[in-house]
């Protein structure tokens, strides 16, 4: 029983590609055909899409000077193969599908956004999915407009996070060994493999958003009972240590 295999053949058929067998011209033709498919006849509204994108913004940047955060930046997304931004820690599942030929376009993005964990089993993206077809169409239209901008020169460098949001932990050098010890409390729920199956992946996050997230749970800016309870007793040194440890890990 290999559901992954079945899904993979599904998206290969949908994206009109078969990895390694088709030449470039056929690939372009195929993606044009996909774009003109009747299912996508409805127009996306980028302005509405910008509102939908609010849900994505805590992890993804798009537009001029976009950087990687918890998720990869989305500049140049269309017609790029999946899992292809140098220096970003993708799940092995996403990288594998990219190598096997998954390319982002209107159709594949629509499918992925509807149910990310079904479309790419093993993805790190902690997003349950967007049920509303129009929302997906709108956000794809927004992304299409913005993703033509150029990303930051070094999109992996840490960026614009305001240190005060993470409290004093942001200024501390975390001890990864201490973080590894503390992490045993986290990995009961957050899988060490980096898979997100109903509980977000926390593997390979950049330091700043990681510290900010824990600090926001601790200060009840983010509301989640388990995480508020987990962080209430965490000191700055512990938060910095956890950020150092989880940031050092690669998803499997």
């Amino acid at each position: 029983m290999t559901p992954t295999g079945r899904r993979r053949s599904k998206w290969i058929a949908q994206s009109g590609l078969f990895a390694g067998r088709l030449n470039v011209r056929t690939m372009v033709l195929a993606s044009c055909l996909t774009l003109s498919a009747p299912a996508l006849a409805q127009e996306g509204d980028p302005a509405k899409g910008e509102k939908v994108f609010q849900a994505c913004k805590s992890c993804h940047q798009v537009g001029a000077e976009a950087r990687n955060g918890v998720g990869p930046h989305l500049d140049g997304l269309f017609e790029r193969k999946a899992g292809a931004i140098e220096g970003f820690k993708y799940s092995s599942a996403m990288k594998k599908l990219g190598e096997d030929g998954l390319v982002w376009n209107d159709f594949t993005l629509d499918q992925y956004l509807e149910k990310p964990r079904d479309y790419v089993p093993g993805t790190r993206m902690s997003f349950r999915g967007m049920k509303d077809k129009q929302d997906r169409t709108d956000v794809i239209a927004y992304l299409k407009a913005l993703s033509q901008e150029a990303p930051a020169a070094d999109p992996t460098a840490s960026g614009t996070a305001r240190p005060e949001i993470g409290g004093a932990a942001m200024h501390l050098e975390g001890d990864p060994e201490y973080g590894e010890y503390l992490s045993s409390e986290c990995v009961t729920c957050h899988q060490i493999s980096g898979r997100a199956d109903g509980i977000p992946s926390i593997i390979g996050w950049p330091r700043e958003p990681f510290i900010r997230a824990l600090f926001e749970y601790k200060t009840n800016v983010r509301s989640h009972q388990v995480m508020q309870n987990m962080t209430v007793n965490l000191g700055n040194e512990e938060i910095a240590a956890l950020a150092a440890y989880f940031g050092s890990l690669d998803p499997q």
């Binding site: 409390e185 990995v187 009961t188 729920c189 899988q191 060490i192 009972q225 388990v226």
Partner: protein
């Protein structure tokens, strides 16, 4: 050895300290040996963490009677039809192949504490330098007059997951509209405090799905109140109106006996008859704990809150349901948390690795009806007396459906996470 006074224990510790003046790892011949009895949520986690973190420095053996382990947590979801049996059953292959743990498939019969050897039922011996005892619970069948191991084939307890769980499901699936189920709930302390009430919810769900809303479930409870009572009561009224009745001791006046031949439960107040009777008796630490002199008069095993080290033997640790873990409930999550503390302490003893201060945590999710999940949890820290709660939370009554659905989905993610953390992935 029937218990050791605090003072004697202190003397033992003193003696231990003398022999340990030279670090163990420097004087031992060959690798130090850590042995774990019991491959459940506590034992398997402890074995995995010791092997993972000590690498080549430690020889880790896991003794488990069953070739596969069925988790008690989520077994109610199997009962409710949300999971299949295979999805809650796990093997030990990954622990052996990826972590180099010697998995011994056999029954540990006793422990020779002087010789530091586990004696197996077949007579073979497994020597240890440090032993982690994680046998889970044993059922005290005669805590309910008329109940016995044989009676459990007719009135299943299903409080140890496996064939008993399948038996209960078969009996539940045979219930017809208008028939009655009686549950005899357990007294404190017992494994999985919200478990009986989640189970009743899942039973009602199965009956409701079939349109059998004239079927009834009666809970005869020896306790005046129970875990997540407000949340369950609210959920039962919302989803299963008229189907579930809970009677505390002030109503039934005491459970007098059960009769497997007639399907009757006799109380001071009345006799209740069920086509299915689920008897969950009182519990104590798994037999080997008492046989080894680790348990006290409560039937469970006192430990040092800072390390899970047995109060009776400095070379032995007791984790999970068998231990007296202060404010922590007996749950798979607690056992997994305690295992990490014990594993760190054993590594510290045997390899000289750094021992950080103990931290513990627990969360128990329960499903009331499809996409209606609730949770309760806490963090804990050791004090001189016990493992004490430092902060806690619980789902609220009246929460919106989206939050309840998110809580359920989170519990599914947790199951994936914790089983990977216990058995490796």
């Amino acid at each position: 050895m029937p218990g050791i006074s605090r003072r004697t224990f202190g003397m033992l510790m003193g003696a231990g300290a003398t022999t340990l003046a030279m670090p163990y790892y420097a004087r031992a011949q060959g690798k130090p040996r850590a042995v774990v009895i019991g491959g459940g949520a506590g034992g398997a986690t402890a074995a995995r963490y010791m092997a993972k973190d000590a690498g080549e420095d430690l020889d880790v053996t896991l003794i488990e009677a069953n070739p596969k382990y069925t988790t008690c947590f989520f077994s109610n979801l199997y009962l409710g039809g949300y999971r299949d049996f295979d999805s809650i059953t796990h093997g030990y292959d990954t622990l052996a192949s990826n972590y180099g743990i010697s998995v011994v498939n056999g029954m540990a019969d006793s422990v020779d504490r002087d010789a530091k050897e586990v004696v197996m039922a077949d007579g073979s011996k497994v020597p240890y330098d440090r032993l982690i005892v994680a046998p889970g619970i044993d059922l005290i069948y005669d805590s309910v007059p008329g109940y016995s191991e044989e009676a459990a084939e007719i009135m299943p307890h299903s409080w140890k997951a496996g064939p008993q769980t399948q038996l209960l499901k078969a009996k539940l699936d045979a219930i017809e509209n208008g028939q009655q189920i009686v549950m005899v709930a357990p007294p404190n302390p017992y494994r999985c405090p919200p478990g009986p009430y989640e189970r009743v919810s899942m039973m009602a769900h199965v009956l409701k799905e079939k349109g059998f809303t004239d079927a009834k479930i009666i809970i005869i409870d020896p306790k005046p109140k129970f875990s997540k009572q407000g949340l369950f009561t609210e959920g039962w009224e919302k989803h299963y109106p008229g189907m579930i009745e809970w009677y505390g001791p002030d109503v039934h006046g005491g459970i007098k006996s059960v009769n497997p031949a007639t399907g009757e439960v006799e109380t001071d107040f009345d006799t209740f008859k069920g086509e299915l009777v689920n008897v969950i008796p009182a519990q104590k630490a798994g037999m080997i704990a008492a046989r080894t002199g680790l348990a006290n008069e409560s039937g469970f095993c006192p430990i040092d809150p800072k390390s899970m080290r047995s109060s009776a033997d400095e070379n032995i640790f007791v984790i999970g349901d068998a231990s007296i873990a202060g404010d922590m409930p007996k749950s798979g999550f607690s056992a997994n948390s305690q295992a990490k503390v014990a594993a760190m302490a054993v590594r510290g003893d045997l390899t000289g690795s750094k021992v950080f201060p103990a931290k513990y945590s627990n969360t128990c999710w329960s499903l009331i009806e499809t996409n209606d999940g609730v949770k309760v949890g806490a963090q804990y820290a050791p004090t001189d007396e016990k493992i004490a709660s430092t902060s806690s939370f619980i789902s609220q009554t009246g929460e919106d459906e989206a939050l309840r659905q998110a809580t359920y989905e989170e519990s599914v993610g947790w199951y994936k996470g914790i089983t990977a953390d216990i058995f490796g992935a």
